[in-house]
């Protein structure tokens, strides 16, 4: 009797216009539903409906590509939380960090997760590249996707690097100073680089000044790196990620030919 009541309740919930408007198919374990689970879901349809058996195995993929994407998602979510409390202004940035760490609910946890997942993303993307090299998955027809992957690797490093400045503490400004000093040594484009005198670049008008928004690291740099970190690079990376995933889907998972 109880069961009959539950059956009726289930029917009432599942068989009405609202439910059917959202969920297009049942959950019964049928081959058709297994395919629909993937193709009728905008997020899951990053996958093909069926994959080669070996491509599922962890010892083949090391799960590194997916985990790199997971780390990216973690930095996006925690990053948005941090953006609510952080002002990219030299007078406030450091104080906001302290405020975030000591006063904001879960502020310290969000900041820790943001930082550690960013570091993990760098490690995972390197391991992903190494795995793809070992399995030769860049070979035809996947050459171009490897190139996109290299660009994503560079963007991952740049994302991490631009974020490094934002706490506006001694660690960040000096790490970014050291990291950016190379720009002033660029041949022809940096004022300390070879052939600079023929191009006419100077300390306030060269590659590093373009990066910094001025001759020295300062408040202008903070705003510039903030926008690069929160908007510009994530946007480019998202576009390239879409291409990267779509290409995997088009070309299928790499594997030995049958």
């Amino acid at each position: 009797m109880n069961l009959k009541f539950l059956e009726d309740l289930k029917r009432d919930i599942v068989e009405n216009q609202v439910w059917k408007a959202i969920f297009r198919h049942g959950y019964e374990d049928t081959p058709r539903n297994r395919v629909l689970m993937v193709t009728a879901n905008v997020f899951l349809h990053l996958h093909p409906a069926k994959v080669r058996r070996h491509g599922v195995r962890m010892r083949f993929t090391w799960c590194m590509g997916g985990l790199t994407f997971l780390m990216f998602l973690v930095t996006v979510v925690t990053g948005i939380y941090l953006m609510f409390y952080y002002r990219p202004v030299a007078e406030y940035a450091y104080a906001d960090m302290k405020y975030l760490e000591f006063d904001m609910p879960f502020g310290m946890l969000m900041r820790n997760m943001h930082r550690w997942s960013a570091h993990a993303m760098v490690v995972f993307v390197w391991l992903h590249m190494f795995r793809v090299f070992l399995t030769g998955s860049y070979k035809p027809p996947r050459e171009f996707n490897w190139v996109v992957g290299v660009l994503l690797l560079v963007l991952t490093l740049l994302l991490s690097f631009t974020g490094y400045l934002l706490p506006w503490d001694q660690l960040s400004i000096w790490a970014v100073t050291v990291g950016s000093n190379m720009a002033r040594a660029s041949p022809m484009l940096g004022h300390e680089g070879p052939f600079a005198e023929f191009v006419g670049v100077n300390p306030v008008y060269d590659a590093r000044a373009f990066l910094f928004g001025g001759g020295e690291i300062g408040p202008h740099t903070l705003l510039r790196f903030y926008i690069l970190h929160c908007i510009f690079i994530p946007m480019i990376a998202s576009i390239l990620m879409a291409v990267h995933f779509w290409r995997i889907r088009r070309d299928g998972f790499s594997g030995p030919s049958l």
Partner: protein, 255 residues
């Protein structure tokens, strides 16, 4: 059944449904990594030092750890080379890998023997050079970018004799232009000799037929990248063994 198992599996047989087989795996791994990440973030706090002060330079000033390989290369090459040219070549070199590697073996599965030289080259560039330079830069460099063991006290007053001299000087050239010419010959000679050696190695290992299929463009690109990669350990050797500062000195740039 016995007859079926003898047949080669077809593509359709080899496939499984993404749901649940792959999605289940992704979910569990993501769950595990998130648990580890959250526990890690609860236990270990992200660093926050004193407020930024442009007038107080810490010694040593280190770049973020993933760039310490580049900072370590600055010991051996000038910034325009170690900081700009070599990173650019690393990125370009990675991008051209699929186009210079025409070996059809190992497309989509692990194997070592048929791709021995490709894998060894990658491991040399990635693990031996990039990763170990990061480890040296992170753990073994202290004030003044001097070498310290991890258990040693970072003494900012450590005295290190600066006895490095340029290679032409070491070879006895004292005149400015003769020194520059000598350096140019050494650098140019390195590239020519190494490229020829690379050619002979490929000819011996892979054979003439392979070289014809490989083509001139692929060979030149690969040789240039390979020889440039080897120039880093070559310069490191000259520095560590003979205290060579520069090989080529010109008014515009030094190598």
């Amino acid at each position: 059944m016995a007859e079926q198992s003898k047949q080669r599996p077809t593509v359709a047989d080899d496939k499984v449904h993404t749901w649940p087989h792959l999605v289940r795996m992704e979910f569990l791994v993501a769950l595990f990594v998130m648990v580890v990440l959250i526990l890690w973030s609860i236990v270990i706090d992200a660093p926050l030092e004193e407020p930024a002060n442009p007038t107080r330079t810490p010694n040593p000033s280190k770049a973020p750890w993933y760039f310490l390989g580049l900072q370590e290369m600055l010991v051996y090459f000038d910034p325009w080379h170690a900081g700009v040219v070599l990173p650019t070549l690393i990125i370009i070199g990675l991008m051209v890998i699929p186009f210079i590697d025409i070996n059809p073996e190992g497309n989509g599965y692990y194997c070592f023997k048929p791709r021995k030289y490709e894998i060894l080259t990658f491991v040399f560039g990635f693990h031996v050079l990039w990763v170990s330079m990061i480890i040296i830069g992170t753990f073994f460099r202290g004030p003044g970018w001097n070498l310290f063991w991890p258990w040693q006290h970072w003494d900012p007053h450590k005295v290190v004799a600066l006895t490095n001299v340029d290679l032409p000087y070491l070879l006895g050239f004292r005149d400015y232009w003769w020194s520059a010419a000598c350096g140019a010959v050494v650098v140019g000679g390195y590239f020519v000799v190494s490229t020829v050696a690379f050619y002979l190695c490929v000819l011996r290992i892979k054979g003439k037929e392979f070289l014809e299929r490989w083509g001139l463009v692929r060979f030149v690109i690969t040789a240039m990248l390979f020889v440039t990669m080897l120039s880093l350990p070559a310069k490191m050797f000259l520095r560590l063994a003979f205290n060579v500062k520069y090989i080529l000195v010109t008014p515009w740039f030094n190598i």
